[in-house]
């Protein structure tokens, strides 16, 4: 690898020099040049390089952020998977089939008999039981450190009967989790939850091989083994080629024991960068196949690389992905605050914000103004569901007057909080300018993330920003978490018993269409109260290289590596 690398560099240098001497002008990226039409059939081979930040974990038991999840979902198959074609649907993965009982409290999953870990061991229902109990147990050992390190994503399993006992340390195993036989897994929930089939698609709920988790993973070179967390073995289309090179890269190669179709790619190299800006420069230099586009460069990138047709799939010359993500950026208004508990004031604020300006300036028009808390592409989303979530200065002024603060008179300077360093400053500057325009003065209160989170936790905030990313493409994931009076994520402190009841009732409906309809109604109900001001829906701002084909990066932020391939004549550029 290294040797080849140098040769490549030397060749480039020599070619470059020759070209410049001869006045040819060098070798520019061939992105825009039409290729010979031969290469539309997938071919095997090649390694795709993919930008991620340094993950916290790639061991599924504690894999939470998108960084680690990119790797985990290449290494593992959970029971179900989100349909690459339509992320609001789930398709079979490790489970061939599944079925809930009538009120969606007992779920039975039938595993695919061909399922194997990459070391050849078959995947059994017991592996799921082990993996899930491992997540729930607060004493679980982090294999990389050898110390107890509770999973912070155990909330995925919160509905399983017996979870609370395990979490509280009163039991070791969840009573609701049973391996009926090698290929049958039965899950009993503590309350009806019709969306459970989406939950189990999450990559962190994948099966893990107990022997390797507890005994270490052979690295393949000599007798040495490394902690499972450094080189997880899974049942997915790829397997680790070598232990995780922290802060540098994670290399995975095709798993020949995979139950599904073998991947075309020889492997994927997840290259770790601290910030997307650098990664993007590397991409421009031709050193990366897939990355984010930093702020300010999106239009430039579209001009250079072309915009993808569906917003999710990379094709040559249509390489910039701008598909909506299932997440919403919103401004919390503390519903228990002395001033903000005034519904009309909240309405005035939400009407005053020029969402389009934010999308146009900060994101170069590549995000969409939010007209609901539920993002498009999610079952239950209805355009314009939140009637006041639009820019209307006159209406805002009227609402402000109705609130008892005509022209802002009588209203103190409100605190506008956000976490620093996350690129929120500019959005907040725009919000501040808009609020000022109708007479509401605000002052910034920015803090480092942990400080900010604590402030929100303590409920001291007035106006604050947050973003909510769907774990699974279900409305419940948004509406319960953000607006149920019992939810700890309800940072707006919105309390509406009718909404609490309605959400609970909706989860008993096993028919997905009917359930979606119910959630759409709940969404509108909440929207009428303006507990928060949805600002915009996130969209992808990613770009792939011209040589990768059929690579789909879906709305949930998962890359579909098993179907991707690299054009044979695709140069590094």
């Amino acid at each position: 690898m290294r040797v080849q690398t140098r040769k490549w560099l030397v060749t480039v240098l020599v070619v470059g020099l020759l070209a410049s001497v001869a006045g040819i002008g060098g070798c520019a990226p061939k992105a825009q040049e039409p290729e010979a039409p031969a290469a539309n059939e997938p071919v095997k081979g090649g390694t795709m390089s993919f930008y991620i930040g340094e993950p916290a974990y790639i061991d599924p038991y504690n894999c939470q952020e998108t960084e680690g999840m990119q790797v985990t979902q290449a290494l593992f198959d959970s029971l179900t998977n989100f349909d690459p074609a339509d992320s609001t649907k789930v398709i079979p993965a490790a489970a061939e089939s599944w079925e809930p009982n009538e009120d969606a409290t007992v779920w039975t999953f039938k595993l695919n008999p061909n399922g194997k870990f990459s070391d050849g061991t078959p995947v059994t229902a017991a592996d799921f039981v082990y993996a899930w109990n491992r997540i729930a147990n607060p004493e679980t050992i982090n294999t990389a450190t050898g110390k107890a390190d509770p999973s912070i994503i155990s909330y995925h399993l919160g509905f399983i009967a017996g979870f609370d006992d395990v979490a509280a340390g009163k039991a070791k195993e969840m009573s609701g989790l049973k391996a009926i036989d090698d290929l049958t897994l039965e899950v009993t929930l503590s309350q009806p939850f019709a969306d459970f089939e989406y939950v189990v698609a999450h990559p962190s709920l994948a099966p893990v091989p107990k022997a390797l988790v507890e005994g270490g993973v052979p690295t393949g070179s000599g007798e040495t083994t490394v902690a499972y967390g450094e080189m997880p073995v899974g049942n997915g289309p790829f397997k680790m080629a070598e232990p995780w090179k922290h802060n540098q890269y994670i290399k995975v190669v095709r798993n020949d024991n995979y139950m599904g179709d073998a991947a075309y790619l020889d492997g994927v190299e997840f290259r770790i960068f601290k910030d997307p800006e650098t990664a993007y420069t590397e991409f421009e230099a031709g050193n990366l196949d897939f990355t984010q586009i930093g702020e300010g460069k999106i239009n430039d990138a579209i001009a250079k690389y072309g915009e993808s047709d569906d917003g999710y799939t990379v094709a040559e010359g249509k390489q910039v992905l701008l598909g909506p993500e299932l997440s919403t950026y919103y401004l919390i208004m503390n519903n228990e605050d002395e001033f903000l508990k005034n519904k009309d004031l909240r309405k005035a604020i939400t009407l005053a914000i020029n969402r389009q300006a934010i999308c146009d300036t900060v994101f170069e028009g590549t995000r969409e103004p939010a007209d609901s808390i539920l993002p498009p592409g999610m079952a239950g989303y209805k355009a314009g569901a939140w009637a006041d979530s639009k820019y209307d200065m006159e209406a805002a002024k009227t609402a402000l007057e109705a609130a008892g603060y005509p022209g802002g008179k009588g209203l103190p300077t409100l605190k506008l909080a956000f976490n620093s360093g996350g690129g929120h400053e500019k959005i907040m500057e725009l919000v501040q300018a808009d609020l000022k325009a109708i007479g509401i003065n605000t002052e910034f209160e920015s803090a480092d993330f942990p400080v900010y989170l604590k402030q929100l936790d303590e409920g001291k905030h007035q106006l604050a920003r947050l973003g909510w990313v769907a774990d699974y493409p279900i409305a419940y994931n948004f509406l319960y978490a953000l607006f149920d009076s019992k939810s700890t994520d309800n940072k707006a402190l919105y309390k509406n018993p009718a909404v609490d009841e309605a959400i609970k009732a909706a989860e008993k409906i096993t028919d997905s269409a009917a359930r979606a309809e119910e959630f759409a109604k709940i969404d509108a109900t909440i929207g009428a109260d303006n507990p928060v001001a949805p600002l915009m829906f996130y969209k992808h701002h990613h770009v792939g290289s011209a040589r990768i084909r059929d690579f789909k990066f879906n709305a949930l932020y998962f890359g579909n590596f098993e179907k991707a391939w690299i054009a044979a004549d695709g140069a590094a550029k």
Binding site: T5, G16, P150, F273, T281
Partner: protein, 336 residues
Amino acid sequence: MLQYITKRIVQFVPVFFGVTLALFLIANYMPGADPIQMRFGERTPPPEIKAALIKQYGLDRPWYVQYGKYLVALSPVKSVNGSLQWTGPDLGTSIYTGRPVTTILAETYPHTIRLALVAIMIEIVVGIGAGVISAVKQYSIWDVLVTLSTSILVSLPVFWLGLMLQYFFGIWLKGATGGAFYLPISGASSPFFPDWVHMILPGITLASVSTAYAARIMRSQLLEVTTQDYIRTARAKGLSERGVLWRHAMKNALIPVVTFIGLDLGAMFAGAVLTETVFNWPGVGSTISRAIFQRDFPIVFGSVTAMLFAVMIINLIVDVSYAFLDPRIRYGGAGE
């Protein structure tokens, strides 16, 4: 000499306790942050899980207990099953990633040291070279150039210099040569360049200010030394100008320069926050600053501890080499 080293180490003790204690107090009396919550991002965890983590990191204990535990864990020799064993210092685990701080340091320190050595090489070669040229050719165009460029270099914001280098060598040059030639502008390694190429721009950036200072010190020292009586003596003895410069002036002039470079190396071992941030260099400087932002105090304490020891050892080496260069120190009593 031994006495000298002992004295140095004795002086280090209050510095070590002062800095670490200050850190602990800062960490404890200005909390306002929830580092545990940081792990969960914008999602609030069940209270049991959070409590388990707080307990695990000992964050529920008073600060002096935490400090005491930190000091005990720091000892590389510990009692294991009743007998003393070499276990190496234990710096705890990162709150954010759960990984051992020693592992994180073992990953980041080599990068920091590599970059520091490159920068020091630049500093020695370019800084001392430019200083010598400008002193020897005083008032020449070279002297003016060196003087002016050192003034500019010490007035440059390091991070801005880094960004400009990135623009010219990573972006503009690439466009100008049609992608044939450019330098990598981030990270410590990539499959497309040998590792040393990655060190060029961050190395230059990190070295910039110090190189300018080294050149200035070298120049002023050499000019100062050449006015010394013993230089006149050397000339009067019939030494050639070259002999005077290299045999008599250089060694004397180098003493303060060596001190400066040594201390600078020590400072670089402490991590170059700005350079590492701009170039995404996976070293200890960027790790510490990120840990501070994340309130990942085990990493902050661990890195600072390692840093203090590194700086102390470098300073010790500098002192010893200083004594080696200057017999007045070696033989005690500075003459007069």
